[in-house]
Amino acid sequence: MAGTLQFDLVSPERRLASVVATEVQIPGADGDLTAMEGHAPTITTLRPGVLKVVSAEGSKSFVVTGGFAEISATSVSVLAERAVPLEELNAVLMDQLIADASEATAVAVDKDAADKAMADLVAMRAAAGF
């Protein structure tokens, strides 16, 4: 039996999830990573992508667009600017996310980062199958 860790997903407006998980797959800015019990304390920023939480009850996925994750040996807190459960994602919402991102790209100072975020989003749309 694998150890468990406390997983919290919070957005600026509310707490979206708070479960005991066995593993959490996080779309980190420098690449995906999976946090399990005993992970070295890490803080990483997120790129737009799919966050997957595996717990005893099954797994649950969220689409996140940015923010950061704080990982410690016993807990994972993800602070996402925008997070939507994968099953609630639809083409309209996806288009809206992309529209928001392209708006941000237009005014962004750091063009490279914004373009990358944009590319991540488009890749995510492909992965989600829209």
């Binding site: 919070v10 600026p12 407006e13 890490t42 803080i43 920023t45 950061f68 602070l79």
Partner: protein
């Protein structure tokens, strides 16, 4: 001496006013609960955000490569005051207290030879500040279409402020809002958001940072500022409803007092009229 009819009309009109203020009070009570829930729900995010940025700022903040959002521009010549008020009146001293604080600050800065720029959020503050500082107003954020304050609202304000900062239009940004303490007490607060000041939490854990500390800090700071603005907006929303609730409670009570007073006067003058008529009849009869 007003006629009986006038008094009757007056009583009827005050009764109608009382109904309205009573209804507004109840609406505010419901909205206050919602606003408090929203503020409560936003707390975990804000706390975490502040803690992490605080920890990062403590380790990076003092170095020469610290982001400009923390280190500042090295000057405090141009001050941007973001004054957050409500869109609607009838909420007691809610808007006046914020405006008074902002006005005092603006006068103080102008006296010290600084350039003051004012960005207003909510039309009540703009109306009051326009009289004294028309030349200093640089922008206005209209919140009248916003039914529930969301993070997007805070984000757009934050983007506006950050764009001004990046463009070198201001050196220091301070936000003014009412901190919610209770229904009867709201504390007008000035909070400096740029250069950002985050409480440095005691670094109890040594974290790995991915990517580098600087990159994370640079990514998080704008979000942290948006979060601070969001928190301020929510506190302001709860304060507004609280202030309106107590103002309307007072108004309802005053209306009740007025009705009692006018009813007494009405009854007295009705009695006086009857007495007068009786005396007239009696003295008329006696004169015969």
């Amino acid at each position: 001496m007003p006629s009986l009819k006038d008094l009757k009309n007056k009583i009827a009109s005050v009764k109608n006013t009382r109904k309205i203020t009573k209804a507004m009070q109840m609406v505010s009570a419901a909205k206050l609960r919602r606003a408090q829930d929203a503020a409560e729900a936003a707390r975990p995010y804000a706390e975490r955000m502040n803690a992490v940025i605080g920890g990062l700022a403590a380790s990076v903040g003092t170095s020469a490569s610290a982001p400009r959002l923390i280190a500042g521009t090295g000057s405090d010549q141009v001050q941007l005051l973001v004054v957050m008020t409500s869109e609607r009146g009838l909420c007691g001293g809610f808007n006046s207290t914020i405006v008074r604080l902002a006005r005092a600050k603006a006068h103080e800065l102008i006296a010290a030879g600084k350039t003051v720029k004012i960005l207003t959020v909510g039309k009540k503050g703009r109306e009051q500040l326009r009289r004294d500082f028309a030349a200093h107003m640089v922008g206005h954020v209209d919140m009248s279409e916003v039914k529930r304050v969301g993070y997007v609202n805070a984000l757009s304000i934050a983007r506006d402020v950050l764009a001004r900062f990046e463009a070198g239009e201001c050196d220091v940004v301070t936000i003014f809002y009412n901190r919610f303490q209770s229904v009867i007490a709201q504390i007008p607060t000035a909070l400096q958001v740029i250069p950002a000041k985050f409480e440095a939490a005691a670094p109890n854990t040594l974290y790995d940072y991915e990517p580098s500390e600087e990159a994370i800090l640079a990514d998080l700071l704008p979000r942290g500022i948006a979060t601070q603005i969001f928190t301020a907006l929510l506190e302001n929303g709860a304060s507004e409803q609280g202030a309106r609730m107590s103002a309307m409670d007072n108004a309802t009570r005053n209306a009740g007092d007025m009705i009692t007073k006018y009813t007494t006067i009405y009854n007295r003058s009705r009695q006086a009229a009857i007495t007068k008529e009786l005396i007239e009849i009696i003295s008329g009869a006696e004169a015969l």
